[in-house]
Symmetry: C2
Subunit: 196 residues, 2 copies
């Protein structure tokens, strides 16, 4: 094996993150990985097979970061910095502001069933990660006891999705920061009643 597996996935992640599944052509992939088509197909079966591994690698990485947030001394502060890091990177890494998973959801129909399943499952994994953060915050007294865990987790992921789509267009980091501040405020705030 001439090619290191992790290195391949890493490079492929960068490409798919920048371009998306559809727009990243096999010839782009060949160039990015410095591999010939035969080698790629021998290992990954297809473009979709490679993409599936990339999605799983990306989701693992994201889940790990969310776990780190729960393990911090102040999870709420750590959450703030998690958002800040994800949304206000340098301009040459602007593509990273968009969540690879969210980007993939936009082209979910073109992706193929196997990778599609991986994307949706990854979204569930992240949701669980956000839920853990909420629970830890409540345990540590950083969020009110009455916070509805499940709703708040979904809401938090939702905020993340929205902010990532938004930050992609935003030139002014100060505006993005203000939005993150608002997320933290609202997280501590009131929640809708069950009854309707």
């Amino acid at each position: 094996m001439r090619y290191d597996h992790d290195e391949i996935i890493e490079k492929a992640t960068t490409l798919f993150w920048q371009r998306g599944f559809q727009a990243a052509g096999m010839r782009d992939i060949q160039q990015a990985l410095d591999m010939r088509p035969g080698s790629i197909y021998a290992r990954f079966q297809s473009k979709e097979g490679l993409f599936k591994l990339v999605v799983e690698h990306y989701a693992d990485n994201s889940a790990k970061r969310l776990k780190q947030v729960t393990e911090a001394r102040s999870p709420l502060d750590a959450l703030y910095h998690f958002f800040e890091t994800a949304l206000t990177g340098p301009d040459e890494q602007r593509y990273m502001r968009q969540c690879l998973l969210v980007k993939s959801i936009a082209e979910l129909d073109l992706i193929g069933d196997i990778a599609k399943k991986a994307v949706l499952e990854s979204m569930q994994t992240l949701k669980a990660g956000f839920r853990n953060i909420i629970e830890t915050c409540i345990e540590k007294g950083e969020l009110p006891e009455h916070t509805p865990t499940s709703t708040a987790a979904e809401w938090l992921q939702n905020q993340f999705v929205g902010l990532r789509a938004f930050a992609l267009l935003q030139d002014d980091n100060q505006t993005t920061i203000k939005m993150i501040d608002k997320v933290i405020i609202d997280l501590k705030g009131q929640w809708p009643q069950q009854t309707h």
Copy 2:
């Protein structure tokens, strides 16, 4: 002219909304519009030219709806129903839950400069629409005087973007409604301070 212009744009909007710019092939377009390639190109120059008109038509329509919200007796109630309508349509119109503009942003690089410009300008138009809603709400006493108009407008658009990406995946409308409730609560809530 055998073909009605508005009807063409309407049909094209449906197709692009369902599939996105890249995935909607010229042959799909030909079928959806019941037109031959020559006719399409004679009128719209290119696939991108057609898409540009679709985007503008979509943005006009959205702006009109936002305007209606400001003109309602209770803009805040109208805003709630605007969200509800956009996000909880029937399953066969699920594609409509995703905002065409947001969907387009995800593939902004593949679209071409002309249509790209149209997409970004449309986003600005919508932002202005949201801003008007905020201002009207303040005037009518439905929102506190101290609400930071510009920030709140950007925030509201952001919520809309996030919810549309989220509602696309959501099977349970009740969850979506809960998220809309939360938006209205937070809109009335506290805002981050300028100082940092």
